[in-house]
């Protein structure tokens, strides 16, 4: 306890900018020295991906080497650089406080992206895991709007995701790719990456419209009934796609162009966080929370409950559709089986693990469940015992998830710790 307190004291004056510099130093160390020096000396076959968890579980004899690697490459550089540069970074953070908050945020984000780019650049597996994790973040935040802020229990998210994925895939295949399913491309392929955002928005919009199919009949009810209707919607979408042969049916669609690069997905993730944050802290968001807590009371306080609920539901579905579009262009193959009950279980686990009514919570939930799922991969069957067990414990000790009912405060996050 004493050590933890001392540790906290020593590092409490490091600002966010300082931590980011430390992380940058760590990835630079890995980038320049990781393969040829550090991992070679430690007897590791390669730079360990995902902090060596995979190697540790597969060949336990490597555990000391992996721990040494993590210590040398990550822990020591981050801590020493963060600590040593604290006076300088506090000064920078202080001057960043004076410029507009959006500019300071962008500076921090660019730095953060740089770190991720270097980290993921070392290995394509890291890149793929990072991309899919970010898609999970978008999905989790979007379902948090419905299951958290709106207080419903909706199960149709994989359905919205499927709609978004299929609409976006059809559009890119029809417009930019010569393929067997839709024939010649209608537009030159160079335009593709530029029009890709609009395609994603179109996918999201169709998903939002399709959410009306659930919303209009079912918002007369709450709770369990909505859960059942939304679950039915998910199955309807899946069966409908399975029976549509012109888009591949059960066989799925493949050869989507490779538009979902890391910067693209990163921008969309930040955009989601920003827009959803603004949405839930707006008057509409407050109204939504009022509806969640007591529908009758908020109605009497002039909140238009039905409109609020439907807009929030469509909003959540929109981002699920966008996430689906990105997902389809990462994997470059989709089939209806992908958007089934297993996906639903994953999304729900992420949102309830991370925390309801909180964007940070959603990010934490999405990142930890995705990374756990990857890190425990060598355990095969036991993975499916360990992850649910962790979930059960979280539900017992923190029934609303790890970080619930907490909003991001960017100003506080980036401020100088010089006191």
């Amino acid at each position: 306890m004493e050590i933890a307190r001392k540790f906290k004291n020593t590092f409490s004056m490091v600002p966010m900018f300082g931590w980011l510099s430390g992380a940058l130093a760590a990835v630079l160390v890995e980038y320049f020295l990781g393969y040829n020096y550090i991992s070679l000396v430690l007897g590791l076959p390669k730079i360990p991906v995902l902090f060596g968890t995979l190697i540790m579980l597969k060949t336990p004899i490597m555990i000391p080497s992996v721990l040494a690697y993590d210590l040398i490459v990550y822990i020591i550089p981050v801590l020493t650089v963060a600590k040593l540069t604290a006076p300088a970074t506090n000064k920078i953070a202080g001057s960043l406080e004076k410029i507009p908050i959006w500019l300071s945020t962008i500076i921090h984000l660019v730095l953060f992206y740089g770190i991720m780019h270097l980290w993921a650049g070392i290995n394509d597996y890291r890149l793929l895991v990072l991309k899919l994790t970010m898609v999970s973040i978008i999905l989790t935040i979007s379902i948090n709007v419905i299951n958290g802020y709106q207080g419903e229990f909706s199960c149709s998210h994989p359905g919205f995701m499927a709609v978004g994925a299929y609409v976006a895939s059809i559009l890119t295949l029809v417009l930019f790719v010569n393929d067997k399913m839709f024939g010649q491309a209608l537009l030159p392929a160079e335009l593709g990456p530029w029009l890709f955002p609009f395609i994603l928005i179109a996918g999201g919009a169709v998903a939002a419209l399709s959410s009306l199919i659930v919303a209009i009949p079912s918002f007369r009810t709450r709770g369990d009934y909505l859960a059942i209707i939304s679950l039915a919607f998910m199955f309807i979408v899946k069966s409908a796609i399975e029976n549509m042969n012109f888009i591949g049916g059960a066989r799925g669609m493949s050869s989507q162009p490779d538009y979902a690069s890391l910067p693209v997905i990163f921008c969309w993730t930040i955009l989601t966080i920003w827009i959803v944050h603004n949405f839930v802290t707006s008057i509409m968001g407050k109204a939504l929370n009022a509806v969640r807590d007591d529908e009758a009371a908020s109605e009497s306080m002039t909140v238009k409950t039905k409109k609020t609920k439907i807009i929030a539901f469509m909003f959540g579905a929109f981002w699920a559709g966008v996430a689906g579009g990105l997902f389809a262009h990462i994997l470059r193959f989709i089939n209806p089986g992908t958007f089934s009950i297993q996906r639903l279980a994953e999304i729900l686990a992420m949102v309830y693990f991370g925390g309801l009514n909180s964007i940070i919570g959603s990010i934490v939930g999405a990142v930890s469940i995705s990374l756990l799922g990857e890190a425990l991969r060598p355990l095969e069957l036991f993975k499916w015992i360990i992850i649910p067990l962790i979930l059960i414990f979280v539900m017992i000790y923190r029934p609303y998830g790890l970080i619930s009912f907490k909003e991001i405060n960017v100003k506080k996050l980036f401020r100088s710790k010089n006191k």
């Binding site: 001392k6 000396v41 430690l42 490597m62 059960a250 799925g252 089986g337 991969r377």
Partner: protein
């Protein structure tokens, strides 16, 4: 502060002492990746794949490694679970190629995973052999992707012709899962082949259901009323017993014919007597097998206590193919990109490979030309060789 620094130093020292014990040069090891559904919907398929791969490794180790260009190399298996999910299969392939530096990948088995995973393998120019995937898209326009089995456009006509020659029937019924790509594709091919021989309208009932359905009585009643003489149902081991039993209960007396997906050891175990006497097309027949095939079956049976199904046999063949390709690749340079391409070129050149599921030669697309086997489930519940049909 001092205490923290001290602790850090102790930790570093401690870790270093142990870590350096594993120090040494990076030697060239031949790594073979296995991408199998160890958990998820079809764990039995994953199990068969894993066991066959381990048996193969045993053989290699007994021989002291693989000999390439006059030098012996150690062989390692990298077995990854794809949870029978397509995104997980893609992740597993990416990990094996970029992190583990595998030379060849065997798997995934199901088409839903093999199609996207094949894209990854082809992009990274790594040879992948899917032993069991029958979807044409798996190997289409992908020079680095091969398969170990025949395709549905071949299997469908084989079954149709067999029924016509064997029984002389003219009216057939089909019952298939519309939500699963393999049964659906095969049902369509069978229908086309049957109608080509017997004229339009000779498929008198073309009924479907959805994955995880367990009650087929309404479809079977329709089929019975349609006056069909034979029922073709290209389903998996979890559905076949239900369909066959329910059909018998409804008074169906004609033969029920299936496809290679019946080949699992579980089919007969779950189905019992109603399945005796039925036919299906497959890659190999366990009962009455000879030579290398029998040797493989006996070894597998001894080690794991049951007769291997076609997935295990096809995986075995895929691994042996990979082995031959590596051996024929000439020399390993240690540069993984060059070696992978050398293995791919060697594999494409393999002619008349004698596998336990038949002789194989690859076409331009990476699909093998090989014979199909018609299997009869005999009175003891064994899969007995009945007839062989070659292209």
């Amino acid at each position: 502060m001092r205490k923290i620094a001290f602790l850090l130093v102790v930790a570093v020292a401690f870790v270093m002492v142990f870590a350096f014990s594993g120090c040494g040069d990076r030697e060239t090891v031949i790594k073979v990746g296995i991408n199998a559904p160890l958990t998820g919907d079809i764990p039995k398929v994953g199990e068969g794949t894993k066991y066959a791969a381990q048996m193969w490794l045993e053989d290699i180790e007994k021989a002291g490694g693989l000999e390439v260009g006059g030098k012996k190399y150690k062989v390692e298996l990298v077995i990854e679970d794809n949870e029978s999910k397509s995104d997980s299969a893609v992740k597993a392939n990416t990990k094996m190629i970029t992190q583990d530096d595998v030379l060849v990948i065997v798997g995934p088995q199901s088409s839903a995973q093999a199609v996207p995973a094949g894209e990854v393998a082809n992009n990274y120019k790594t040879t992948m052999i899917s032993p069991w995937s029958t979807n044409p898209a798996t190997t289409l326009d992908r020079p680095y992707v091969f398969r170990g089995c025949f395709l549905d456009p071949f299997q469908g006509p084989v079954v149709a012709n067999f029924i016509i020659e064997e029984f002389g029937f003219t009216k057939a019924a089909v019952l298939y899962d519309v939500a699963s790509d393999y049964p659906k594709g095969l049902a369509e091919v069978f229908k086309a082949a049957w109608e080509k021989k017997n004229g339009a309208g000779s498929i008198v009932a073309y009924e479907s259901f959805t994955t995880k359905d367990t009650d087929f009585s309404s479809q079977l009643t329709k089929i019975k009323r349609s006056g069909a003489q034979v029922l073709f149902t290209p389903q998996y081991y979890n559905e076949v017993p239900l369909i066959v039993k329910q059909a018998k209960d409804l008074g169906w007396t004609g033969p029920i014919v299936g496809s290679d997906s019946w080949g699992s050891a579980e089919t007969v175990e779950l189905c019992g007597e109603p399945c005796y006497g039925q036919f299906f097309s497959s890659h190999y027949a366990a009962a009455g097998a000879k030579g290398a095939t029998k040797e493989f079956i006996d070894r597998y049976n001894k080690a794991h206590g049951y007769i291997p199904d076609d997935v295990a046999a096809l995986t075995w063949d895929a691994l042996r193919l990979a082995q031959q390709a590596i051996e024929n690749a000439g020399e390993l340079t240690g540069k993984i990109e060059t070696d992978r391409t050398a293995v791919r070129d060697a594999l494409a050149k393999v002619k008349d490979f004698a596998g336990i599921t038949g002789n194989m030669t690859f076409t331009e697309e990476g699909d093998p030309i090989k014979c199909a086997v018609i299997v009869k489930i005999n009175d003891k519940g064994e899969y007995e060789f009945y007839k062989s049909v070659c292209p």
